[in-house]
Amino acid sequence: MVTVERSPTQPVTRRRPRRRFRITADHVPMTLISVVLLAVCFVWVYPFLWMVSSSIKTNAEVFSGLGLFPKAIRLDNYVRAWHDAHIGDYFFNTVFVTVTSIVISVLAVSMMGYVLGRYRFPGKRVVIGLLAAAVFLPEGYTIIPIFDLINKLGLQDSLWGLALAEAGGAHVVAILLFAGYFSQLPKELEEAAMMDGAGFVRIFWQVYLPLAKPVTATAIILQFMHSWNDFLLPLVLTLNKPELRTLSVGIYSFQGEYFTDWSGMAAAATIGLLPIIVVFLFLQRYFVEGIAGAVKQ
């Protein structure tokens, strides 16, 4: 990768030093910009490359240099992290919480968006006002009441409480995405379905929701990112309950207990980060749309 920086495009800039003030994006060759950006990008993601490479090195080799390629591939770091440090348990906890919260929240949000996008009914303004309030009112310190609520519901000793809390909240961005999308779909579909005798639920479930696949994908991704990565909520809800920890909390506690075992730690961190990175690389359009949605609204 390092050799890329010395590319044959460099002399091009030297050829016209007198026009220095006029050198702008139009004049500098795109290849030069590309090469510089490529080098920057390599440094940008280097911490992740270093983490993955450390996870297959021995502890002695990890801090021996900047090189990314180990002398021999050691998979016992993963075995140690997965079993001894319970990362395997944390992994399945995280998967359960993430999947459950996605199912709950996306169902709720799509139904809400459908109604707001396609129907007019008494009280609609109140609902929209509530959504705006959820964005603008000061939050306070909500984690304490949420913890209190989960305890009162008797869900503190299972992962259901955490999954529900991760699914909870107003989800204003996702609701607006669904409402905007549904409002643009033609009304004729609904009329045709009604002629065939379909009711409200079937029209939503079999006609409109299947048409909203791109927004559904974005909503799933937003919730996936939120649930998989969340820290404060699982940290507080699993205080004194190590068996319920998610990956982020598990690895955070692991840091205190196995401080010297960096290659085991790197393996644990890789197990925690790889799933979301892989999903991102395949479905990045939906990640980007979910983030950009905040500005476009």
Binding site: Y119, L130, T142, L149, S183, F231, Q255, F287
Partner: protein, 325 residues
């Protein structure tokens, strides 16, 4: 909001009927909103209201008694130097990290928005990658990347001769906060970049074509078209970025837990430690006091946000004038 427009209105069918008839015809609508409203009620509105109530309590743990103490928590908060230090650190964080993130992200976004740059989607992927990763795990990885004991950053800097000996970035109270800021900028840079890219794509290409015909150079295009057209978005992007920068609990807690010597104890870390980790500093948990700190901080953030919304409205008017001219 776009919802208010209601392109597919059912008004024609029902508006002449009485309110209760209309409510009855819309019964499925209410049923469909129920799950979402329950979730919002349980996890947004109930906690919002309760955290204000809790802030008037003397309450030292979930199992212990709650005593109503009125405004005592707020009175104590105003005289608490630890709170004000944390408060100041959070705002210092915003004042330093937000402008850096905004300007760098804008520059990269302008570069990536250039259609001649064939690899732009690849670069976008790289810059965005840290955003999707788990802040707490990334924070821990960065403690090793920045380690003074032959961590890669120190090895590279010493190897290049930029520093004579390794720096303990996170262990030295003088460098810790700046280091945490740098990591936070790196981690969330991609979000701001995507915001800018979304905004840049709203600028009609024809404006650039027209200006080029008139003989405008790259800098003039930037000065007279891009910047004014981006202004209304800029206000929203500043708001979103600043708000996100005030909520950096996970990465800070994972990297330094507020240390060394409180050097990185931003407001969220202070509140968390007051509520849940008091035993580590030899005190009792203070849930009421932590709630008061959270509510006070929330109000300050809201006031700043409202100011920014006001500025955004003004900027939108400026843009509207430009478009009309």
């Amino acid at each position: 909001m776009t919802l208010a427009r209601d392109s597919i209105a059912r008004a024609g069918r029902t508006s002449s009927a009485g309110l209760w008839t209309r409510v009855w015809t819309s019964r499925w609508c209410y049923l469909f909103m129920l799950p979402s409203l329950v979730l919002a009620g349980m996890f947004t509105f109930y906690p919002m209201v309760m955290s204000w109530y809790f802030s008037f309590l003397d309450w030292s743990g979930f199992t212990s008694a709650r005593t109503f103490v009125g405004l005592d928590n707020y009175r104590e908060l105003i005289g608490d130097p630890l709170f004000w230090d944390a408060f100041g650190r959070s705002f210092l964080f915003v004042i330093v990290a937000v402008p850096i993130r905004l300007v760098l992200a804008l520059l990269v976004a302008i570069l990536l928005n250039n259609q001649a740059l064939k690899l732009a989607p690849v670069f976008r992927t790289f810059f965005f990658l840290p955003v999707v990763t788990t802040a707490a795990i990334v924070g821990i990885v960065m403690t090793f990347v920045l380690s003074p004991y032959r961590g890669p950053v120190n090895q590279a800097l010493v190897g290049l001769g930029l520093i004579p000996e390794p720096i303990d970035f996170l262990g030295d109270p003088h460098t810790a906060l700046w280091t945490v800021m740098a990591v936070e900028v790196w981690k969330n840079f991609g979000i701001t970049m995507i915001y800018w890219l979304a905004a840049l794509q709203t600028v009609p290409r024809i404006y650039y074509e027209a200006a080029k015909v008139d003989g405008a150079g790259r800098f003039q295009l930037l000065r007279y078209i891009t910047v004014p057209m981006l202004l209304p978005f800029a206000a929203i992007i500043v708001l979103l970025t600043a708000n996100a920068t005030l909520h950096v609990f996970a990465i800070v807690q994972a990297m330094t837990r507020g240390g060394p010597y409180f050097a990185t104890q931003v407001i969220e870390v202070y509140i968390y430690q007051t509520a849940f980790a008091a035993d580590q500093v030899g005190g009792v948990p203070r849930l009421g006091y932590a709630s008061a700190a959270g509510c006070f901080f929330g109000v300050v953030v809201m006031v700043i946000a409202l100011l920014q919304v006001y500025v955004a409205r003004k900027a939108a008017q400026v843009r509207a004038q430009l478009v009309n001219e």
